[in-house]
Amino acid sequence: MRLPRFEFLKPASLEESLGLLEKSGRKAKVLAGGTDLLVNMKYGVLRPETVVSIKAIPELCSISSEKDGQTIIGASVTLSDLAGNSLIAERFPAFQLAVRSVASKHIRNMASLGGNICFDTRCWYYNQSKLWRDARELCHRTGGSVCHAIKGSKRCHAINASDTAPALIALDAKIAVMKKGQKRLIPAKEFYRDDGIRHTVLEPEEMVTSIQLPEGNGNSQSTFIKVSMRKGIDFATGSIAAAASVNGKGVAGVRLVVGSIASAPVLLEKTAQLIIESGLTEKSIEKAAETARSELGTLTNLFTTAGYKRHLAEVLVKRALSELKEKIGRARK
């Protein structure tokens, strides 16, 4: 498969790249690692007229620890750089586990964090060659008005398979987004939309510039579990990121986020509340896993059946909470 034609621009500064995006808007796509964008362009599902490479912009390529305890990661930082970073491993275990679970080492050497969080949603009727897609009616995603994944659906149900997204939501990260003359700081949870087509709140002339992780305090623990067909290369069939903080009285806060089962990562608020109220015990974990099943809402049969997804989420909640319980127990000793 070859790439379609496009104009290639490689601005040397952030200011210049924002100017280019303002001018080109919807016709342009931002390129960092290229492991998602170029694949979609080869399949012909994305056809930007202009590709703006942000690899040469120094401020997007660094990891820094701020005085207030925040860690700021530039959008072009590669997943390999994050996987090998000891500060990230120590402060944000869930995030590092998520990063290390992405595809393969080759891909991680190239792929950027910005790319992984903006990563296009996936559907087996959509991520196919043009020839394959042409054999069916156009779907919502390809400009038509049907959904092949769910007959009769009025929206696109493509799945958000980003591994870092659930971890960033669980750790309450913020995503810095810029367009010419304007900067927004969006909590990771609000960055995603439950829509297969417009799956993030990013406007066409905007780009992600950095990811900000709040200070990981000594009283909090986090973890990430990914289930996939093969450990290497494959997208998750389901994943979970979990974070908990403790104080003198017990569990003060819990965040549970299930990834790769819907068009947006699912934050399980009711399930987390149950753990906050009854603490992390074997009994409460069982009950939380049951609660998670019903809290997931409607699921689709895309890639795996809805029943499988629900069961997987239950198992993942149980495993993640048990891991957190053990980690908290160990930290107390």
Binding site: M1, R2, L3, P4, R5, F6, E7, F8, K10, L31, G34, T35, L38, V39, K42, Y43, V51, S53, K55, S80, A103, S104, K105, H106, I107, N109, M110, K231, G232, I233
Partner: protein, 164 residues
């Protein structure tokens, strides 16, 4: 519109006129005639197009040629010197880690990048590095063995040599 690109491959500098939509793989094979790097899936999952850029295993099918200006690129053609094979290549032959050979350049480059960074990797580290490559003829057992033989300290490998 083509742009003039200066590429450093295996220590040699080439000047090529390249369209923006050409990948590094296209340019290596079509412009420079370096056919050792193979074209497989084209979407980054098979690893046969692996080259080493600035010390890291990179997929040339998902790298735009224009992004490679000023970088040191090593392909399978560049790792043997004056007729003598690279130790990883030798080990692949000695341990029968080759069948049809299509995936070999990519896997050898992947192994070289791993061993340059970590001369004595554990089994898990080898598996992690190889996860982005595919051998469709047989399996990765012989390949693992070949890489392990190269990575063993001198003397230790000899005790596992065939016939002993």
């Amino acid at each position: 519109m083509k742009k003039i690109l200066s590429l450093t491959v295996n220590g040699d500098t080439y000047e090529v006129a390249v369209s923006p939509w050409k990948t590094l793989l296209d340019v290596l094979r079509d412009n420079l005639g370096l056919m050792g790097t193979k074209r497989g899936c084209s979407i980054g999952t098979c690893g046969v197009c692996t080259v080493i850029i600035d010390g890291k295993a990179i997929l040339s099918c998902l790298t735009l040629a224009l992004e490679c200006e000023g970088k040191a690129i090593t392909t399978i053609e560049g790792i043997s010197s004056e007729g003598s094979l690279h130790p990883v290549q030798k080990s692949f032959i000695e341990n029968g880690a080759i069948q049809c050979g299509y995936c070999s350049p990519g896997i050898i480059m992947t192994a070289k990048a791993l061993l340059d960074e970590n001369p004595h990797p554990s089994d898990d580290e080898i598996k992690e590095a190889l996860a982005g490559t595919f051998c469709r003829c047989t399996g990765h057992v012989k390949i693992m063995e070949a890489i392990k033989k190269v990575s063993q300290p001198a003397g230790e490998g000899a005790s596992h040599a065939p016939g002993k």
